[in-house]
Every structure is written in C-alpha cells, then in structure tokens.
C-alpha cells in the first residue's frame, strides 16, 4: 500500500533536486483544451499522453502541461496550444494520443512545428 512515508521520501528527493521548473522563465507550455467540448472529444488521454511523453524524455523542468478552457473552436477539439517563449504560439487540432510523441519530439525538442497537425492545415 502507498504510504505517507513514501511521500516523505518523494518530498526529500524533490527538495534536493530543487524544482527549477517554477523558476524557469523559458519553460514551454502545453495547453490542452479541457472544457466540455474538449473533454467530450477525448482531451483527457491527450493530456495524459503529453505528461507521459514529457516525463519519458526528462523534459519536466522545461515544459509544463496544463489545461485551458474552450477557445471557441469546439469542432476542432481536442485542441492543444503550444507556447514556447520567443516563438509564435501554435495551435494543434483534432489531436489524438498517437500524435503526441511526434509533437513532443519535433516541436518541443527540435522546434520544428508539425504543420500537418495545425489548425492552418485544415482550414
């Protein structure tokens, strides 16, 4: 069974590592649309896929994954916006968990936008 003692160990490790993420002004942001429309279209597994992929690649200090509301393009949900400081915000549409590893690798790691997944590709 998970115990609070285990949580204490996690705390001590986290403190030792000094969580740089909070102070990292250059952290990229992955915003997953999680209003009614996003959730119904399958945003939850997409958010989980981003969290897992970013952890797998050891990027948790450089990228934060969080939710946002409805931005008014419900027909294109699940919508994911990626903000990298100093670069233009990119909006990915109809995102499926299978598309996530490529977005992380191409866009977040190598700064190459995956154009065919963006809103510009379908409009």
């Amino acid at each position: 069974m998970k115990s609070l003692a285990e949580l204490q160990a996690i705390r001590d490790r986290a403190k030792a590592q000094l969580d740089l993420r909070r102070e990292n002004p250059n952290a990229a942001r992955v915003l997953v649309g999680m209003a009614t429309c996003g959730i119904a279209a399958g945003a939850r597994p997409v958010l989980n896929a981003f969290t897992e992929e970013i952890a797998k690649r050891g990027l948790t200090k450089d990228v934060t994954v969080t939710q946002t509301g409805c931005i008014g393009i419900c027909q294109y949900e699940p919508v994911v916006e990626i903000e990298i400081p100093g670069e233009e915000k990119v909006t990915y549409v109809k995102v499926a968990p299978e598309m996530v590893p490529r977005i992380v690798s191409d866009h977040l790691v190598h700064h190459q936008v995956v154009s065919e997944y963006t809103i510009g590709a379908i409009k």
């Binding site: 069974m1 998970k2 609070l4 285990e6 949580l7 204490q8 996690i10 705390r11 490790r13 986290a14 403190k15 969580d19 909070r22 999680m34 209003a35 009614t36 429309c37 959730i39 119904a40 939850r44 958010l47 989980n48 969290t51 952890a55 948790t60 994954v65 969080t66 939710q67 509301g69 409805c70 931005i71 008014g72 419900c74």
Partner: protein
Amino acid sequence: MRELSLNVMDVAQNSVRAQASLVRIDVSESDREDNLTIAISDNGCGMTDEQVQQVIDPFFTTRTTRKVGLGVPLFKLSAEQTGGSFDIKSKVGEGTVTTASYVKSSVDMTPLGDINDTVKILIQCNPDIDFVFTHSTDLGSFALDTRELREVLEGVSLDTPDVLAWIAQFLEENTQNIYGGAEN
C-alpha cells in the same frame, strides 16, 4: 460523455472558476441499493437561485467564446435518463453542491469510468486548490485529502511528477480494495 468521470471533470472545473479553494468529490456506489451518487461540493462564490436555474439551461453560459453551455445539462441528463435525480444547492458567498444520483442497473446507465484519472488531472492542473475525494462501495471506502498531502510535502508542489505518480497509485490500490480486489 462516454464516462461519468468526464462529467465530473467538467463540472469540477466550474468550481475552479468559481474561485473555490476546496473542492470535494464524493462517489458512493451500492449494488445492494442499486444506486450510484456523485456529489461535487465547493466553497466558491456560489450562485443565486436565478443563476442556478440558468446553468441548467443549455442555452445559457457565462462564457463569451460560444453561445451554449452544456456541462451541467449533460450531467443532469446522465442521471435523469437512468431514473435517478439531479440537484444543485448553492448560496452566494458560501459555495455550491451539485448532486447526481443514478439507478445503477438502468440500461441507460453511463459507466463511471476512470474517476481516479479525473481526480489526478484535477490536482495536476490546479495544484493550488485543495481536493478531497472519497469513494465508497458496499465493501468499504477511502479518502484522498490534498490538505493532508500538503502537510507532508512541506512546500513541494502537488503537481511534481513523482507526487502525481504516488497519488495515481494510491488511488488505484485503494480502488481495488473497495472493488473486492478485482480489476475495475
């Protein structure tokens, strides 16, 4: 919505937007009583009686990005289609309690789905808000209270990946217990 846990995620976000500092999610299931009840309570800004009537109306929303608001109406429908009931109690300045009650054996029952994932994501995305989650079945119950976790964590954020992994496992292990050890 394919799972009730998705409705919960949706409606809990109304609590976040209502500036709640504490959100409770209580799920109680009973095969004996053929019932499943979900209550979402918050200490947010609350609503007037008139506003409560408005949120039940699909063509009302406080948003400006679109003209419909389906979160609450879909949650209400999910309960009422099973022969269950739905209720919102709210007081301005005190908070809101949304309760959906289901007849479990109804053919129109939506599965509860991965409620633990919903709780984990709510904590991940709102690490500054406290969540209390309780889940009970005929076999037992358990609770997760982020206020208790915060005491142990001494300033380490709840959305630290290792902490979230601990939360996910805590929820999974306890859920298996109250489902009699079977995979859900």
